[in-house]
């Protein structure tokens, strides 16, 4: 019965992953991250992703601050933040977020304020969506680990 539950959760997780891949929210790089997780580093993916969330929120705040400035917006600085955001998003496989960063950066290169505002909105929206989905994924994984742990008690030495 419990084993059955673990299998269901596994199926849930895979379904969510497949969905996210299909939507282009995540790409192959996320799989690479998962492959790096093992007994030696059992929480690797969530650790990296949590660092990513922390960094991203700082960057988004900075970007919003720079764009909202009454006087001349510092497009160059925005570009630097975007490079960072782009790099880290690409490193965890957040494909859609990365793509919006590319468009956003193009707008900063042209000092296109309206374009930047639009891009920022899209970026915030996309990032929010990603964060929610990844939280969902981690929740399922945690549940699965719990259930699997109950099913497979400590192995005999």
């Amino acid at each position: 019965m419990l084993g059955f539950g673990a299998d269901l959760l596994w199926a849930d997780m895979n379904r969510l992953l497949a969905f996210l891949f299909h939507q282009g929210v995540l790409d192959e790089q996320f799989l690479q991250l998962q492959q790096l997780q093992d007994e030696a580093s059992p929480n690797f993916v969530s650790e990296v992703v949590n660092i990513y969330f922390h960094e991203s929120e700082k960057l988004l705040n900075n970007l919003r601050g720079l764009l909202m400035e009454r006087e001349l917006s510092d497009y160059k600085k925005m570009g630097i933040h975007l490079n960072q955001f782009m790099g880290s998003s690409s490193s965890i496989g957040a494909k859609r977020v990365t793509n919006i960063c590319v468009a956003f950066r193009a707008a900063t290169d042209q000092s296109n304020r309206a374009g930047c505002l639009r891009a920022l909105e899209m970026l915030e929206h996309e990032y929010c969506y990603l964060k929610n989905k990844l939280h969902e994924l981690f929740q399922i994984e945690q549940q699965r680990a719990l259930v699997a742990g109950v099913r497979y008690p400590v192995q005999n030495q």
Partner: protein, 242 residues
């Protein structure tokens, strides 16, 4: 650490200003059984390597004078991001190659952008490889031959240039391998382990070096399009929704 040539634990110094990329590269390197030290800037990298701008040695840091060949902390490879504030990866590469004590350490550059001029500049300056980010486990397989090069200068190991230039050596190696296989039919591992015989290592080095050279070219060919292709089109079939 590293005195016994058989069980080689290579030490890699990874340089990247992005904390996520540092975490990633560290995990990738550890998974590949390398010892890893990460730093977040080029200047810290040089400090760690024992080379300082003003050449004064600080007693509190584990650095040695640049004239000393035996570094306290032996580094077999430096892998660095290109785009970093202050000292770029290219600047770091130059400094290492200009230093008499450090120039033999192989350097690999990573970059999230595929810019052909950047790539060729780095390779010309002496970088062994240029990896596009995000770096993958398969990329790291190309590192071992470069590290073996510096580690065992005393041994009868062949360097990349010699392999490329010498057809004769290739032929001899194949002959040795044939004889070797007759004696002990061991399946070829992708990674040479501690009991690897010199001949096996040379052939695998050849293969990885050939692959490395092909991929170096491949990287440059990929970058010929006018726009900087930010995302590598690796996952075909996925609808890109922006």
């Amino acid at each position: 650490m590293g005195m016994a040539a058989a069980e080689s634990q290579f030490h890699v110094l990874a340089v990247d200003d992005s904390i996520i990329d540092r975490k990633l590269i560290e995990r990738l390197l550890r998974t590949s059984s390398y010892q890893v030290t990460t730093v977040d800037s080029g200047s810290k990298a040089l400090e760690f390597l024992g080379l300082r701008e003003n050449e004064n040695t600080n007693p509190s840091t584990p650095s040695v004078s640049p004239n000393n060949n035996h570094q306290e902390v032996e580094v077999n490879l430096v892998i660095t991001d290109y785009c970093m504030p202050g000292m770029t990866g290219y600047d770091l590469l130059k400094k290492i190659k200009e230093s008499s004590s450090l120039r033999n350490i192989p350097v690999v550059i990573m970059s999230s952008e595929n810019v052909p001029s950047r790539i060729s500049r780095c390779l010309e300056e002496g970088a062994e490889e240029f990896f596009l980010k995000p770096v993958r486990l398969s990329d790291l397989n190309k590192l071992k031959p470069h590290m073996k090069k510096t580690k065992s200068k005393e041994q009868r190991q062949v360097t990349a240039e010699e392999i490329e230039n010498s057809q004769v050596l290739q032929h001899q190696t194949q002959q040795i391998l044939q004889n070797d296989q007759q004696q002990a039919p061991k399946p070829q591992d992708p990674q040479p382990d501690s009991e690897s015989r010199p001949q096996q290592t040379i052939e695998q080095q050849q293969q990885s070096l050939q692959q490395a050279n092909n991929n170096k070219r491949k990287t440059m060919e990929q970058g010929l399009s006018p726009e900087t292709d930010r995302t590598r089109p690796r996952y075909s079939g996925i609808a890109t929704v922006v």
